[in-house]
Protein backbone atom coordinates (compact mmCIF):
# COMPACT_ATOMS: atom_id res chain seq x y z
CA UNK A 1 0.00 0.00 0.00
CA UNK A 2 2.80 2.43 0.90
CA UNK A 3 5.97 3.15 -1.09
CA UNK A 4 9.40 2.37 0.33
CA UNK A 5 10.07 6.07 0.69
CA UNK A 6 6.91 6.58 2.77
CA UNK A 7 7.82 3.69 5.05
CA UNK A 8 11.38 4.96 5.40
CA UNK A 9 10.17 8.37 6.54
CA UNK A 10 7.59 6.76 8.82
CA UNK A 11 10.11 4.49 10.50
CA UNK A 12 12.83 7.11 10.78
CA UNK A 13 11.13 10.48 10.64
CA UNK A 14 13.31 13.57 10.31
CA UNK A 15 13.03 16.64 12.55
CA UNK A 16 10.37 15.45 14.95
CA UNK A 17 9.73 16.78 18.45
CA UNK A 18 8.82 20.00 20.18
CA UNK A 19 10.69 23.25 19.48
CA UNK A 20 11.32 25.74 22.25
CA UNK A 21 10.39 29.33 21.43
CA UNK A 22 9.57 28.87 17.76
CA UNK A 23 9.27 31.97 15.56
CA UNK A 24 6.15 30.54 13.96
CA UNK A 25 3.79 27.65 14.60
CA UNK A 26 1.19 25.96 12.41
CA UNK A 27 -1.47 23.76 14.02
CA UNK A 28 -3.72 21.96 11.56
CA UNK A 29 -5.93 18.90 11.33
CA UNK A 30 -8.56 17.55 13.61
CA UNK A 31 -8.49 14.76 16.15
CA UNK A 32 -11.96 13.62 15.14
CA UNK A 33 -10.79 12.83 11.62
CA UNK A 34 -7.64 11.29 12.96
CA UNK A 35 -4.82 13.58 11.85
CA UNK A 36 -3.28 16.45 13.79
CA UNK A 37 -0.09 18.15 12.65
CA UNK A 38 1.89 20.78 14.53
CA UNK A 39 4.77 22.43 12.72
CA UNK A 40 7.33 24.78 14.32
CA UNK A 41 9.77 27.05 12.48
CA UNK A 42 12.71 29.24 13.32
CA UNK A 43 13.46 31.95 10.77
CA UNK A 44 16.93 33.28 9.96
CA UNK A 45 18.38 35.74 7.48
CA UNK A 46 20.65 34.95 4.55
CA UNK A 47 23.67 37.14 3.66
CA UNK A 48 21.60 38.95 1.07
CA UNK A 49 18.97 39.68 3.74
CA UNK A 50 16.37 37.13 2.72
CA UNK A 51 14.36 35.29 5.35
CA UNK A 52 14.82 31.53 5.39
CA UNK A 53 13.76 28.49 7.44
CA UNK A 54 16.67 28.05 9.82
CA UNK A 55 15.12 25.20 11.73
CA UNK A 56 11.90 23.23 11.52
CA UNK A 57 10.28 20.54 13.65
CA UNK A 58 6.99 18.68 13.69
CA UNK A 59 4.70 16.77 16.02
CA UNK A 60 2.02 14.63 14.43
CA UNK A 61 -0.83 12.44 15.63
CA UNK A 62 -1.86 10.37 12.67
CA UNK A 63 -1.42 7.53 10.27
CA UNK A 64 1.71 6.43 8.45
CA UNK A 65 1.11 8.84 5.56
CA UNK A 66 0.59 11.79 7.90
CA UNK A 67 3.86 11.10 9.70
CA UNK A 68 5.79 10.56 6.45
CA UNK A 69 4.35 13.75 4.92
CA UNK A 70 5.34 15.71 8.04
CA UNK A 71 8.84 14.33 7.88
CA UNK A 72 9.35 15.08 4.20
CA UNK A 73 8.01 18.62 4.39
CA UNK A 74 10.60 19.45 7.03
CA UNK A 75 13.27 18.19 4.60
CA UNK A 76 11.80 20.18 1.73
CA UNK A 77 11.56 23.39 3.73
CA UNK A 78 14.71 23.40 5.81
CA UNK A 79 17.31 25.92 4.62
CA UNK A 80 15.04 27.38 1.94
CA UNK A 81 13.88 31.00 1.76
CA UNK A 82 10.30 31.73 2.80
CA UNK A 83 9.59 32.94 -0.70
CA UNK A 84 10.66 29.63 -2.18
CA UNK A 85 8.98 27.53 0.50
CA UNK A 86 5.64 29.20 -0.12
CA UNK A 87 5.74 27.87 -3.66
CA UNK A 88 5.85 24.24 -2.50
CA UNK A 89 2.63 22.33 -3.10
CA UNK A 90 1.10 19.00 -2.26
CA UNK A 91 2.21 17.42 -5.54
CA UNK A 92 5.81 18.05 -4.57
CA UNK A 93 5.26 16.14 -1.35
CA UNK A 94 3.50 13.26 -3.05
CA UNK A 95 6.26 13.08 -5.65
CA UNK A 96 9.02 13.21 -3.06
CA UNK A 97 7.38 10.32 -1.23
CA UNK A 98 7.18 8.26 -4.41
CA UNK A 99 3.38 8.49 -4.33
CA UNK A 100 0.59 8.19 -1.76
CA UNK A 101 -2.54 5.98 -1.85
CA UNK A 102 -5.55 8.01 -3.09
CA UNK A 103 -7.29 7.95 0.31
CA UNK A 104 -4.17 9.39 1.88
CA UNK A 105 -3.63 12.33 -0.44
CA UNK A 106 -5.19 14.64 2.12
CA UNK A 107 -2.15 14.04 4.33
CA UNK A 108 0.03 15.92 1.82
CA UNK A 109 -2.47 18.80 1.88
CA UNK A 110 -2.30 18.79 5.66
CA UNK A 111 1.49 19.11 5.59
CA UNK A 112 1.34 22.07 3.21
CA UNK A 113 -1.35 23.69 5.35
CA UNK A 114 0.79 23.27 8.47
CA UNK A 115 3.81 24.86 6.81
CA UNK A 116 1.85 27.78 5.40
CA UNK A 117 0.16 28.36 8.74
CA UNK A 118 3.53 28.41 10.49
CA UNK A 119 4.82 31.03 8.06
CA UNK A 120 1.59 33.01 8.39
CA UNK A 121 1.99 32.90 12.15
CA UNK A 122 5.57 34.16 11.91
CA UNK A 123 4.71 37.01 9.53
CA UNK A 124 1.65 38.18 11.45
CA UNK A 125 3.40 37.99 14.82
CA UNK A 126 6.22 40.17 13.49
CA UNK A 127 3.79 42.52 11.76
CA UNK A 128 5.32 41.81 8.38
CA UNK A 129 3.59 42.01 5.09
CA UNK A 130 1.59 38.86 4.33
CA UNK A 131 1.23 37.88 0.67
CA UNK A 132 -2.40 37.93 -0.43
CA UNK A 133 -2.36 34.25 -1.38
CA UNK A 134 -1.11 33.25 2.04
CA UNK A 135 -3.79 35.38 3.66
CA UNK A 136 -6.47 33.70 1.57
CA UNK A 137 -5.05 30.31 2.44
CA UNK A 138 -5.21 31.15 6.13
CA UNK A 139 -8.83 32.28 5.83
CA UNK A 140 -9.75 29.04 4.09
CA UNK A 141 -8.17 26.90 6.81
CA UNK A 142 -9.92 28.92 9.50
CA UNK A 143 -13.23 28.46 7.73
CA UNK A 144 -12.77 24.71 7.32
CA UNK A 145 -11.83 24.37 10.95
CA UNK A 146 -15.03 26.11 11.95
CA UNK A 147 -17.09 23.87 9.69
CA UNK A 148 -15.65 20.72 11.22
CA UNK A 149 -16.01 22.11 14.72
CA UNK A 150 -19.68 22.82 14.09
CA UNK A 151 -20.24 19.43 12.55
CA UNK A 152 -18.69 17.59 15.45
CA UNK A 153 -19.53 20.01 18.26
CA UNK A 154 -20.68 17.34 20.65
CA UNK A 155 -17.66 15.18 20.10
CA UNK A 156 -15.22 18.01 20.51
CA UNK A 157 -16.86 19.03 23.78
CA UNK A 158 -16.56 15.46 25.00
CA UNK A 159 -12.91 15.36 23.96
CA UNK A 160 -12.18 18.52 25.89
CA UNK A 161 -13.87 17.12 28.97
CA UNK A 162 -11.69 14.04 28.77
CA UNK A 163 -8.51 16.05 28.37
CA UNK A 164 -9.45 18.14 31.39
CA UNK A 165 -10.15 15.08 33.50
CA UNK A 166 -6.88 13.52 32.41
CA UNK A 167 -4.97 16.58 33.49
CA UNK A 168 -6.72 16.51 36.84
CA UNK A 169 -5.90 12.84 37.27
CA UNK A 170 -2.29 13.43 36.33
CA UNK A 171 -2.05 16.20 38.88
CA UNK A 172 -3.51 13.93 41.51
CA UNK A 173 -0.86 11.35 40.77
Amino acid sequence: MYTKKVLKHFKHPHNYGKMKNPDGMGKVGNIICGDVMWLYIKVGKTKDDQEFIKDIKFETFGCVAAIAASSIITDLAKGKTLKKVLKTNKDKIVKSLGGLPPVKLHCSVLAIDALKEAIYDYLSKNKKEIPIELRRHHQRIKKEKKLIENKYKEWIKAEERIHKNDKKNQQKK
Binding site: F10, K11, G34, E159
Partner: protein
Protein backbone atom coordinates in the same frame (compact mmCIF):
# COMPACT_ATOMS: atom_id res chain seq x y z
CA UNK B 1 -21.39 -33.56 10.66
CA UNK B 2 -21.47 -29.78 10.43
CA UNK B 3 -25.10 -29.87 11.56
CA UNK B 4 -24.13 -32.19 14.38
CA UNK B 5 -21.50 -29.76 15.68
CA UNK B 6 -24.26 -27.20 16.22
CA UNK B 7 -26.83 -29.63 17.59
CA UNK B 8 -28.92 -29.17 14.44
CA UNK B 9 -30.43 -31.59 11.90
CA UNK B 10 -28.75 -31.78 8.49
CA UNK B 11 -32.03 -30.69 6.90
CA UNK B 12 -31.71 -27.42 8.83
CA UNK B 13 -28.38 -26.37 7.32
CA UNK B 14 -27.96 -24.64 3.97
CA UNK B 15 -24.65 -23.62 2.45
CA UNK B 16 -23.99 -20.15 1.09
CA UNK B 17 -20.94 -18.38 -0.31
CA UNK B 18 -20.25 -16.07 2.63
CA UNK B 19 -21.40 -14.99 6.05
CA UNK B 20 -22.48 -11.78 4.36
CA UNK B 21 -24.83 -13.79 2.14
CA UNK B 22 -26.18 -15.77 5.10
CA UNK B 23 -26.88 -12.62 7.08
CA UNK B 24 -28.48 -10.92 4.06
CA UNK B 25 -30.68 -13.98 3.54
CA UNK B 26 -31.83 -13.94 7.16
CA UNK B 27 -32.66 -10.26 7.39
CA UNK B 28 -34.31 -9.87 4.01
CA UNK B 29 -35.74 -13.39 3.85
CA UNK B 30 -37.39 -13.21 7.28
CA UNK B 31 -38.58 -9.66 6.71
CA UNK B 32 -40.34 -10.45 3.44
CA UNK B 33 -41.71 -13.85 4.49
CA UNK B 34 -43.23 -12.46 7.67
CA UNK B 35 -44.40 -9.00 6.71
CA UNK B 36 -47.99 -10.04 7.30
CA UNK B 37 -47.10 -10.53 10.94
CA UNK B 38 -45.13 -7.33 11.39
CA UNK B 39 -42.37 -5.08 10.15
CA UNK B 40 -40.28 -4.44 13.25
CA UNK B 41 -36.74 -5.84 13.48
CA UNK B 42 -34.32 -5.50 16.40
CA UNK B 43 -30.53 -5.61 16.02
CA UNK B 44 -27.62 -4.38 18.13
CA UNK B 45 -25.48 -1.34 17.40
CA UNK B 46 -22.34 -3.47 17.10
CA UNK B 47 -23.41 -5.85 14.34
CA UNK B 48 -21.17 -6.54 11.37
CA UNK B 49 -21.62 -4.16 8.43
CA UNK B 50 -23.52 -6.80 6.45
CA UNK B 51 -26.26 -6.90 9.08
CA UNK B 52 -26.24 -3.13 9.61
CA UNK B 53 -26.45 -2.38 5.91
CA UNK B 54 -29.08 -5.05 5.21
CA UNK B 55 -31.12 -3.50 8.00
CA UNK B 56 -30.57 -0.05 6.55
CA UNK B 57 -31.80 -1.26 3.18
CA UNK B 58 -34.87 -2.86 4.77
CA UNK B 59 -35.58 0.46 6.41
CA UNK B 60 -35.71 2.04 2.97
CA UNK B 61 -38.27 -0.64 2.04
CA UNK B 62 -40.57 0.38 4.87
CA UNK B 63 -39.41 -1.91 7.67
CA UNK B 64 -38.75 -0.52 11.12
CA UNK B 65 -35.28 -1.17 12.51
CA UNK B 66 -34.39 -0.74 16.15
CA UNK B 67 -30.73 -0.74 17.20
CA UNK B 68 -30.03 -1.72 20.79
CA UNK B 69 -27.26 0.14 22.61
CA UNK B 70 -24.38 -1.69 24.32
CA UNK B 71 -22.53 -0.96 27.54
CA UNK B 72 -18.85 -0.01 27.74
CA UNK B 73 -17.86 -3.65 27.32
CA UNK B 74 -20.01 -4.04 24.22
CA UNK B 75 -22.69 -6.09 25.99
CA UNK B 76 -26.37 -5.91 25.09
CA UNK B 77 -28.63 -5.46 28.11
CA UNK B 78 -31.46 -8.02 28.43
CA UNK B 79 -33.77 -5.36 29.81
CA UNK B 80 -33.27 -3.33 26.64
CA UNK B 81 -34.19 -6.39 24.58
CA UNK B 82 -37.42 -6.88 26.50
CA UNK B 83 -38.26 -3.20 26.32
CA UNK B 84 -37.71 -3.02 22.57
CA UNK B 85 -40.08 -5.89 21.75
CA UNK B 86 -43.39 -4.86 20.22
CA UNK B 87 -46.41 -6.69 18.94
CA UNK B 88 -45.12 -6.38 15.38
CA UNK B 89 -41.55 -7.51 16.07
CA UNK B 90 -40.67 -10.35 13.70
CA UNK B 91 -36.94 -10.82 14.17
CA UNK B 92 -34.18 -10.15 16.68
CA UNK B 93 -30.66 -10.48 15.33
CA UNK B 94 -27.76 -10.14 17.75
CA UNK B 95 -24.15 -10.95 16.94
CA UNK B 96 -22.82 -13.88 18.99
CA UNK B 97 -19.29 -12.53 19.41
CA UNK B 98 -18.21 -9.19 18.04
CA UNK B 99 -15.53 -9.26 15.36
CA UNK B 100 -13.58 -6.26 16.64
CA UNK B 101 -13.68 -6.39 20.42
CA UNK B 102 -14.49 -10.09 20.86
CA UNK B 103 -17.28 -9.52 23.40
CA UNK B 104 -19.58 -12.55 23.66
CA UNK B 105 -23.24 -11.59 23.97
CA UNK B 106 -25.74 -13.34 26.27
CA UNK B 107 -27.24 -15.17 23.30
CA UNK B 108 -28.92 -17.96 25.26
CA UNK B 109 -30.83 -15.47 27.41
CA UNK B 110 -31.81 -13.32 24.44
CA UNK B 111 -32.95 -16.47 22.66
CA UNK B 112 -35.13 -17.34 25.64
CA UNK B 113 -36.78 -13.91 25.54
CA UNK B 114 -37.47 -14.38 21.83
CA UNK B 115 -38.90 -17.84 22.41
CA UNK B 116 -41.26 -16.52 25.11
CA UNK B 117 -42.47 -13.79 22.78
CA UNK B 118 -42.75 -15.91 19.64
CA UNK B 119 -40.11 -13.94 17.76
CA UNK B 120 -37.47 -15.46 15.48
CA UNK B 121 -33.97 -15.19 16.89
CA UNK B 122 -30.91 -15.00 14.65
CA UNK B 123 -27.28 -14.80 15.72
CA UNK B 124 -24.28 -14.04 13.55
CA UNK B 125 -21.73 -16.56 14.80
CA UNK B 126 -19.12 -15.92 12.09
CA UNK B 127 -16.54 -15.07 14.73
CA UNK B 128 -17.47 -17.59 17.38
CA UNK B 129 -18.23 -20.83 15.51
CA UNK B 130 -15.33 -23.21 16.04
CA UNK B 131 -13.92 -21.07 18.83
CA UNK B 132 -16.52 -21.47 21.55
CA UNK B 133 -19.12 -24.26 21.80
CA UNK B 134 -22.53 -23.59 20.27
CA UNK B 135 -25.74 -25.59 20.62
CA UNK B 136 -28.70 -24.10 18.77
CA UNK B 137 -31.24 -25.91 20.95
CA UNK B 138 -29.71 -25.13 24.28
CA UNK B 139 -29.17 -21.52 23.22
CA UNK B 140 -32.69 -21.02 21.80
CA UNK B 141 -31.38 -20.04 18.37
CA UNK B 142 -33.70 -20.12 15.31
CA UNK B 143 -31.22 -18.93 12.72
CA UNK B 144 -27.43 -18.89 12.79
CA UNK B 145 -24.69 -17.71 10.46
CA UNK B 146 -21.21 -19.25 10.39
CA UNK B 147 -18.31 -19.00 8.01
CA UNK B 148 -15.63 -21.41 6.83
CA UNK B 149 -12.55 -19.22 6.51
CA UNK B 150 -12.93 -17.82 10.01
CA UNK B 151 -12.18 -21.27 11.35
CA UNK B 152 -9.26 -22.30 9.13
CA UNK B 153 -11.48 -23.56 6.30
CA UNK B 154 -11.29 -22.34 2.68
CA UNK B 155 -12.85 -19.07 1.57
CA UNK B 156 -16.10 -19.23 -0.38
CA UNK B 157 -18.24 -21.32 1.95
CA UNK B 158 -20.51 -20.36 4.81
CA UNK B 159 -23.61 -21.82 6.37
CA UNK B 160 -27.00 -20.77 7.54
CA UNK B 161 -28.87 -22.76 10.14
CA UNK B 162 -32.63 -22.39 9.73
CA UNK B 163 -34.71 -24.15 12.36
CA UNK B 164 -37.39 -26.41 10.94
CA UNK B 165 -40.65 -24.52 10.53
CA UNK B 166 -39.10 -21.04 10.30
CA UNK B 167 -40.78 -19.01 7.56
CA UNK B 168 -38.15 -17.51 5.26
CA UNK B 169 -37.87 -16.41 1.63
CA UNK B 170 -34.77 -17.19 -0.43
CA UNK B 171 -32.50 -14.44 -1.70
CA UNK B 172 -31.60 -16.38 -4.84
CA UNK B 173 -34.30 -18.02 -6.96
CA UNK B 174 -33.43 -20.62 -9.57
CA UNK B 175 -32.92 -24.36 -9.74
CA UNK B 176 -33.99 -24.98 -6.18
CA UNK B 177 -30.77 -26.16 -4.59
CA UNK B 178 -30.41 -26.16 -0.78
CA UNK B 179 -34.08 -27.09 -0.23
CA UNK B 180 -35.11 -24.24 -2.51
CA UNK B 181 -33.59 -21.72 -0.14
CA UNK B 182 -30.44 -20.94 -2.07
CA UNK B 183 -30.40 -21.69 -5.77
CA UNK B 184 -26.92 -21.86 -7.33
CA UNK B 185 -24.55 -24.65 -8.27
CA UNK B 186 -23.22 -25.98 -5.00
CA UNK B 187 -19.56 -25.16 -4.32
CA UNK B 188 -18.59 -28.70 -3.34
CA UNK B 189 -14.80 -28.27 -2.88
CA UNK B 190 -15.19 -25.31 -0.53
CA UNK B 191 -17.92 -27.06 1.45
CA UNK B 192 -15.86 -30.25 1.79
CA UNK B 193 -13.01 -28.08 3.07
CA UNK B 194 -15.40 -26.37 5.45
CA UNK B 195 -16.55 -29.74 6.79
CA UNK B 196 -12.97 -30.84 7.36
CA UNK B 197 -12.22 -27.60 9.20
CA UNK B 198 -15.26 -28.17 11.42
CA UNK B 199 -14.11 -31.72 12.13
CA UNK B 200 -10.68 -30.52 13.26
CA UNK B 201 -12.12 -27.66 15.34
CA UNK B 202 -14.58 -29.99 17.05
CA UNK B 203 -11.79 -32.32 18.05
CA UNK B 204 -9.63 -29.55 19.47
CA UNK B 205 -12.11 -26.96 20.69
CA UNK B 206 -11.98 -27.75 24.39
CA UNK B 207 -8.21 -27.88 24.69
CA UNK B 208 -7.66 -25.02 22.28
CA UNK B 209 -10.10 -22.72 24.07
CA UNK B 210 -8.30 -23.29 27.34
CA UNK B 211 -4.89 -22.77 25.81
CA UNK B 212 -5.84 -19.59 23.97
CA UNK B 213 -7.73 -18.11 26.91
CA UNK B 214 -4.62 -18.49 29.02
CA UNK B 215 -2.40 -16.89 26.37
CA UNK B 216 -4.92 -14.10 25.73
CA UNK B 217 -5.14 -13.21 29.41
CA UNK B 218 -1.36 -13.19 29.63
CA UNK B 219 -1.11 -10.89 26.63
CA UNK B 220 -3.74 -8.49 27.98
CA UNK B 221 -2.24 -8.40 31.46
CA UNK B 222 1.28 -7.84 30.25
CA UNK B 223 0.46 -5.18 27.65
CA UNK B 224 -1.66 -3.18 30.09
CA UNK B 225 1.14 -3.40 32.63
CA UNK B 226 4.01 -2.50 30.30
CA UNK B 227 2.36 0.30 28.33
CA UNK B 228 1.24 3.37 30.23
CA UNK B 229 -2.12 4.90 29.28
CA UNK B 230 -3.27 1.69 27.59
CA UNK B 231 -6.75 0.26 27.95
CA UNK B 232 -8.64 -2.89 27.05
CA UNK B 233 -11.61 -2.74 24.68
CA UNK B 234 -14.38 -5.28 25.18
CA UNK B 235 -15.19 -7.40 28.19
CA UNK B 236 -12.28 -8.71 30.29
CA UNK B 237 -13.82 -12.19 30.68
CA UNK B 238 -16.83 -12.53 28.36
CA UNK B 239 -14.73 -12.43 25.21
CA UNK B 240 -13.49 -14.74 22.47
CA UNK B 241 -10.44 -16.73 23.54
CA UNK B 242 -8.51 -15.49 20.50
CA UNK B 243 -9.21 -11.75 20.73
CA UNK B 244 -7.38 -8.91 22.45
CA UNK B 245 -8.22 -5.30 21.63
CA UNK B 246 -6.56 -2.26 23.16
CA UNK B 247 -6.51 1.46 22.77
CA UNK B 248 -3.47 3.58 23.39
CA UNK B 249 -3.68 7.22 24.26
CA UNK B 250 -2.04 9.91 22.09
CA UNK B 251 -1.33 7.75 19.04
CA UNK B 252 -3.10 6.47 15.96
CA UNK B 253 -3.91 2.83 15.21
CA UNK B 254 -2.74 2.49 11.62
CA UNK B 255 0.73 3.72 12.59
CA UNK B 256 0.92 1.00 15.23
CA UNK B 257 -0.22 -1.65 12.76
CA UNK B 258 2.37 -0.70 10.12
CA UNK B 259 5.14 -0.40 12.70
CA UNK B 260 4.28 -3.85 14.13
CA UNK B 261 4.22 -5.25 10.61
CA UNK B 262 7.83 -4.22 10.10
CA UNK B 263 8.65 -6.50 13.03
CA UNK B 264 6.66 -9.34 11.48
CA UNK B 265 3.64 -8.90 13.74
CA UNK B 266 0.24 -8.87 12.01
CA UNK B 267 -2.49 -6.81 13.65
CA UNK B 268 -5.44 -4.60 12.77
CA UNK B 269 -7.19 -1.46 13.93
CA UNK B 270 -10.65 0.04 14.13
CA UNK B 271 -9.25 3.41 13.25
CA UNK B 272 -10.71 5.51 10.47
CA UNK B 273 -7.31 6.01 8.94
CA UNK B 274 -7.14 2.38 7.92
CA UNK B 275 -10.41 2.56 6.02
CA UNK B 276 -12.14 4.66 3.40
CA UNK B 277 -14.48 6.10 5.96
CA UNK B 278 -13.87 9.23 7.94
CA UNK B 279 -15.44 7.96 11.13
CA UNK B 280 -13.69 5.47 13.36
CA UNK B 281 -15.17 2.05 14.16
CA UNK B 282 -18.89 2.08 14.97
CA UNK B 283 -18.27 -0.72 17.47
CA UNK B 284 -15.81 1.25 19.56
CA UNK B 285 -17.95 4.39 19.38
CA UNK B 286 -20.97 2.34 20.50
CA UNK B 287 -18.97 1.21 23.51
CA UNK B 288 -18.66 4.87 24.47
CA UNK B 289 -15.15 5.54 23.20
CA UNK B 290 -14.51 9.04 21.88
CA UNK B 291 -13.20 9.32 18.33
CA UNK B 292 -9.67 10.20 19.44
CA UNK B 293 -9.65 7.09 21.62
CA UNK B 294 -11.07 4.87 18.92
CA UNK B 295 -8.37 6.13 16.55
CA UNK B 296 -5.77 4.62 18.83
CA UNK B 297 -7.17 1.10 18.84
CA UNK B 298 -5.29 -2.08 18.08
CA UNK B 299 -6.62 -5.62 17.66
CA UNK B 300 -4.36 -8.59 18.22
CA UNK B 301 -5.76 -12.01 17.33
CA UNK B 302 -4.40 -15.31 18.54
CA UNK B 303 -4.65 -18.55 16.63
CA UNK B 304 -3.85 -22.21 16.42
CA UNK B 305 -0.19 -21.44 15.82
CA UNK B 306 0.28 -18.78 18.50
CA UNK B 307 2.75 -19.86 21.15
CA UNK B 308 3.84 -18.33 24.41
CA UNK B 309 7.04 -17.08 22.81
CA UNK B 310 4.94 -15.07 20.33
CA UNK B 311 3.28 -13.33 23.24
CA UNK B 312 6.71 -12.60 24.71
CA UNK B 313 7.80 -11.10 21.39
CA UNK B 314 4.74 -8.82 21.10
CA UNK B 315 5.11 -7.71 24.70
CA UNK B 316 8.73 -6.83 23.96
CA UNK B 317 8.11 -4.91 20.69
CA UNK B 318 4.76 -3.18 21.26
CA UNK B 319 5.81 -0.89 24.14
CA UNK B 320 8.79 0.34 22.10
CA UNK B 321 6.56 1.23 19.17
CA UNK B 322 4.02 3.02 21.36
CA UNK B 323 6.81 4.97 23.02
CA UNK B 324 8.29 6.08 19.73
CA UNK B 325 4.96 7.11 18.20
CA UNK B 326 4.16 9.08 21.34
CA UNK B 327 7.44 10.94 20.92
CA UNK B 328 6.23 12.07 17.51
CA UNK B 329 2.71 12.92 18.73
CA UNK B 330 1.83 16.46 19.88
CA UNK B 331 -0.38 15.07 22.66
CA UNK B 332 1.48 13.74 25.63
Amino acid sequence: MIACSLGAKSREIIFTASATESNNTVLKGIAFANKNKGNHIIISSIEHDCVLNSAKWLQSQGFEIEKLPVDKYGLVNLKDVKKAIRENTILISIIHANNEIGTVEPVKEIGKICRENGIYFHTDAAQSFGKIPIDVNEMNIDLLTASSHKMYGPKGAALLFIREGVKIEPLLHGGGQEFGLRSSTVNIPAIVGFAKAVEICQKEIEKETQRLTKLRDQLIKRVLKKVSASYLNGHPKKRLPNNANFWFKFIEGESIVVALDSYGIASSTGSACSSQKLKPSHVLLSCGLKPSQAHGSLRLSLGRWTKEKDIDYVVEILPKIVKKLRKISPFK
